[in-house]
Symmetry: C2
Subunit: 355 residues, 2 copies
């Protein structure tokens, strides 16, 4: 009996953190990409017990030498043959430079490489990384096909504080023009009053909702000045690995350089907006699943954040973190598309640049 | 809209090697277990570019201290809560001792832990590991629920050369009685004439086949002296990661301690024989898929083994290895059971012990 395999989506090299327990970094990205049919080459930038949000974690970071050694052997062995590259958290400036150097070599060898660079720098006004990493990310931006910063990472990369229409325009334009990024996906930006007012009415969240409970996702493609957006409800509390899952789904759904879908834009969708719509829809469904599962846990597993109590009793925070790990395994049919979820389609924002 | 997740199979801690490219160790085990619905905690014992069979590889080995540190932090953080434990290749005696120490602690905390120990020691008469690892594996055997040695690993662990019925009996009895292993799965043993003669006629391969093209898989459960077996065709050439995939599928299909299936044995099947039948069927189908894909490659990717030519031209071997990586992604529906494959059911070997 001949056995017929799934058609493969191609080969992705994923370079990010690894944790033994839970779903952040590679643990949040690799399984979804495999479910979508990609062979994933996995280089671990750290090997930790769990993510740092638990407060207590152990393990080791890969040095720049270790990473370069792995890349060089793969190169010598003709095993560095990805169609796509996905990079996330890398510990420190030297290791980030080693990853950027690899991206440069891959881009030279394969001009149509699809490189999604997720500049994991921080969130909500707080930098996760040492400031000397920032210029290295800036030097890497021209190598990327797509970047997926949150609003804070846009601010850090561009040096522009986003407070109004002008600053938002300026920041996105700088990413396209100064840093030559073809596709910018601002994964989440709080829906402050100025942004809500800026949004065309068909993109605004339902008027009975409080603004602070919604986030916006905005995509911008350099060619054709195409901007799309969608708002989505923000679930209470903090979930880890969400950005890593989202970025994996964006690159996983982005059409390949040989794909027919590449040039097709139907009903206002572009290849980028369609990929991001799928990524947003699936990520949001996974969050709802995770949130609902967390609500069903015993009370001591879901105590709300209280920095004073958390500091006095570390297990309080640890149990909360554990209860909020992504339900990636339980939601795998969402990733695969065999369990349908609400399609949160990004809509064209035609007058964005003239606003 | 409420989103309903898959019922989870539980939580498995997998401790084995990691390679960036290809499918051996954790890369061959974790994705299949995730597809079967398990949350998998993944501790990497090495971080290599590719498996050692390529001849050239780079990366780092985790030290015993690094492994113990990760285990200890997970323990402190109440993240060491697996229902099942799967251990494979561990580099060196000290790291193996650290893993064995962890298995002991997990067994003490959870007497019904299902522990599948794959004693990765060697194959076809050649030891992969340093001999000082052997006594540590022997000391770990009483902690295991199931072990999955190949015939050579049975010889190494028991010190008994398997050449006839008596020596086979003696080796399996020693694993059950001296080392207290409840379930022994001899994953593959060449069908030499003495073994073919020993097999009941209904278990023998088709008579028109050459014996050397078949391997036998034999399972033995201590309680009830139940032995099962099945022969399966041996595909030409060497494939890596097959034992890692097989062991993952055995533990993935073995019923949990609360499962009804645990005590049910229908039509001559036992919970062990059924799990191994599924593992054998799916592993074999994956090999056929891989073999067929390799045959379709350009000639320079599938040159046969020739030690002299391989030594002169390392890329010759590397390209062959690359062409023979498991097609795990393309065959994921086989793992998941949504693509049906021939069920290679292990059959009771009722007169095994009286032969």
């Amino acid at each position: 009996m001949a056995i017929v395999g799934l058609k493969t989506g191609g080969r992705i090299l994923s370079i990010q953190s690894h944790v033994a327990y839970g779903y952040v970094g590679g643990k949040a990205a690799v399984f979804p990409l495999q479910c979508l049919g990609y062979d994933v080459d996995v280089v671990n930038t750290v090997n930790f017990s769990n993510h740092s949000g638990y407060g207590r974690f152990g393990g080791s970071r890969a040095s720049a030498e270790e990473l370069s050694n792995i890349f060089n052997i793969m190169l010598q062995n003709e095993l560095l043959v990805p169609d796509r590259l996905l990079t996330g958290y890398v510990p420190g400036a030297e290791a980030t430079a080693a990853v950027t150097d690899l991206a440069k070599r891959l881009r030279e060898r394969k001009p149509d490489l699809i490189y999604l660079l997720d500049p994991v720098l921080g969130d909500s006004g707080r930098l996760y990384v040492s400031p000397d990493v920032i210029p290295i990310y800036q030097s890497a931006l021209p190598l990327a096909t797509i970047i997926t910063p949150n609003w804070f990472e846009v601010e850090v990369l561009t040096g522009i504080t986003i407070t109004d229409t002008q600053s938002l325009h300026k920041a996105i334009r700088m990413l396209h023009e100064t840093y030559h990024v073809p596709h910018v996906v601002v994964s989440s930006i709080p829906l402050k009053p100025w942004l809500k007012d800026l949004l065309p009415s068909h993109l605004r969240p339902p008027s009975d909702s409080s603004d602070s409970s919604y986030l916006a996702c905005i995509t911008s493609s350099r060619d054709g000045n195409l901007v799309h957006a969608q708002c989505f409800p923000c679930l209470p509390g903090y979930f880890s690995g969400v950005g890593d899952l989202f970025s994996a789904l964006v690159i996983g759904h982005f059409p390949g350089s040989n794909s027919q879908a590449k040039e097709t834009a139907t009903g206002g969708e572009t290849p980028l907006s369609r990929a991001v719509s799928h990524a947003l829809s699936k990520t949001h469904a996974m969050l709802v699943l995770t949130h609902e599962a967390a609500l069903a846990l015993p009370e001591e597993e879901r105590l709300v954040t209280d920095e004073e109590l958390d500091a006095r009793e570390p297990m309080r925070k640890i149990r909360r973190m554990r209860g909020r790990e992504l339900r990636l395994i339980q939601g795998q049919d969402i990733i695969r598309g065999t369990q349908p979820v609400e399609y949160r389609e990004l809509q064209p924002w035609t007058d964005f640049w003239s606003a």
